[in-house]
Symmetry: C2
Amino acid sequence: MTNRKEVAKLAGVSEATVSRVLNGIGPMKESTRQRVLQAAKQLNYELNAVASSFARGRSGNLGVVLPHVPKVHLFSTYYFSELLGGIGEAVHSGGYGLLLLFRDPTVVYDYVSLYRTQRVDACIILGSSALETEKTAVHRLADERLPYCVMDQRFDHPQLSIVAADHEQGSYDAVKHLIERGYRKIGFLNGAPQYSNSEDRMAGYRKALKEAGIAEDDTRVYQGNYSRTSGKKAASQVYRDLARLDAVFVSNDRMAIGLMQGLRELGCRLPDDLKIVAYDNSDAASFTEPSLTTVKVPFYEMGRLAADRLLKQLAERDRNGASAEPIREKLRTELIIRQSSGN
Amino acid sequence: MTNRKEVAKLAGVSEATVSRVLNGIGPMKESTRQRVLQAAKQLNYELNAVASSFARGRSGNLGVVLPHVPKVHLFSTYYFSELLGGIGEAVHSGGYGLLLLFRDPTVVYDYVSLYRTQRVDACIILGSSALETEKTAVHRLADERLPYCVMDQRFDHPQLSIVAADHEQGSYDAVKHLIERGYRKIGFLNGAPQYSNSEDRMAGYRKALKEAGIAEDDTRVYQGNYSRTSGKKAASQVYRDLARLDAVFVSNDRMAIGLMQGLRELGCRLPDDLKIVAYDNSDAASFTEPSLTTVKVPFYEMGRLAADRLLKQLAERDRNGASAEPIREKLRTELIIRQSSGN
DNA sequence: TTGTAGGCGTTATCAG
DNA sequence: CTGATAACGCCTACAA
């Protein structure tokens, strides 16, 4: 492995000059620059990223923490893949590395350790939940004023860094759409309760009902876990309650797809027998039969935004040592009307 | 940032001993071990990964090179997300880091540079094509005997490291299935030609026709690029040729979905008017209407296999300096029969 | 504009 | 079983 010393020798300059040229730092004579570049090329030399990181005390990586979800191919999920794509774009164009960090389900995760071991300069936490251990772990990050961002999970504390979508509003819009079309017996198939996500949807659902003067009815609320399978499982309950339901609001497209499959197998005709509004606007939403009326969430943009902000914080910190202000962003959703809601 | 020296002092041992304890290397007295562990915990000390990498001369990362595909959210693609998931699983359980490397479309990529800069110890190349520049870049990796693996792209040279699926066989099976059901006018909507992938499918298609004594007819071959949009575009041509077609074999599910959407908009009834066999067995295949008969490809396993092999090579190399044997694997596909082929 | 030199936190080799 | 010590390759004041 050819190193800086050899290049310096060949170019007839000091090692420091080699570094300056390759990092484009400080003023230098063009002729020197050329000589160094020439020598580097001739020797096939490039900066050793690990050594640079070491000397600089920064890894140059942004970490993305991924949850462990049993039996699910995480990346093949619209939610995660879009978030990751957005993050990737920002990280790439910011010149950082993107390090994927897989959570081990058996271990209490210590985010701070990622920084202590210097594997990342900042990190984005996906699939975070409201579990107590999780909450303390995130608080620890905030206490240490480390650059981090939690994705789409609300905590009560206003000083935590979070990029999220406004799921209460999104859900409200979805349910209101059904109400406006004249449906009043509206069920709700929600996802796993440990995400604030799910609570927010519930809040939006309730708000819309209340506003329309429709009494809530817990027996119309079904519980899934965002998987297609859970949607399919819910089908039998929904089918049983069909007489008491005009429509169902479903917390994501995957569950809605499962639900529709299940209902159809039970002999339902959709959307005639039941109107459905789903959530996410994944690719699949446009080609199910009937196509899904659904709430579009800008996951890609959320990922990009979070990463952009973090990189800016890092740059700022390197410039003047400023410690990070919390990132607080809540993005808007948009209702996409298709056939499943009876149009 | 607390470092080894402080821990050594607190534990009353040398720095070397601290390292040995934390790396679990060599024999040591249990009491010493405990003292060191105790001190480390008390000081909140953990090994600095960057410093370790530096001293060891290995980054501890496996890189995954991602192609740039304009206007496509790469991760939201069944193909890439499954591959990535498999790679992730292997890398994670192997204790390595997973570094995502985004190709810049404007730059000729030099894979060797990834190793020279020490950003990765090994890498997996996704979305590789048969372009000349790509071929030389990969050959360079092989010449340098670096640990790498190309995913699902065949090159003529038998010494290159590749994990692939047997797409010729898969395509053959698909077309044969149609022939066995009595269809003889079989079209083919293929993906972008710069992937060996696509050639192989073509070969399988031809082989099946030939074996059944069906004359080839180039006017029944349509060109897409694996995107849904391209499938939808092809719909008008296919529709025009409908009288000369019993069935179409489509190179992936996404295009098939686009094709079906397009055909339906033109007034086709599926599968009555046209039988379709697709490729990939993505999640969507089971909930399109009609559901897709398709060729299942073990992308996840392919990713895992490639990563596993590379990690083994790295371990081997660290143990005895052995330089890597090329990885050569071709995995089997499986035909999944659903409704779109007329069942 | 360029050179000198100290330091970054480990690993690994070699003694003891 | 443990300690001392020389790398590792680069960055960055500071000096010239």
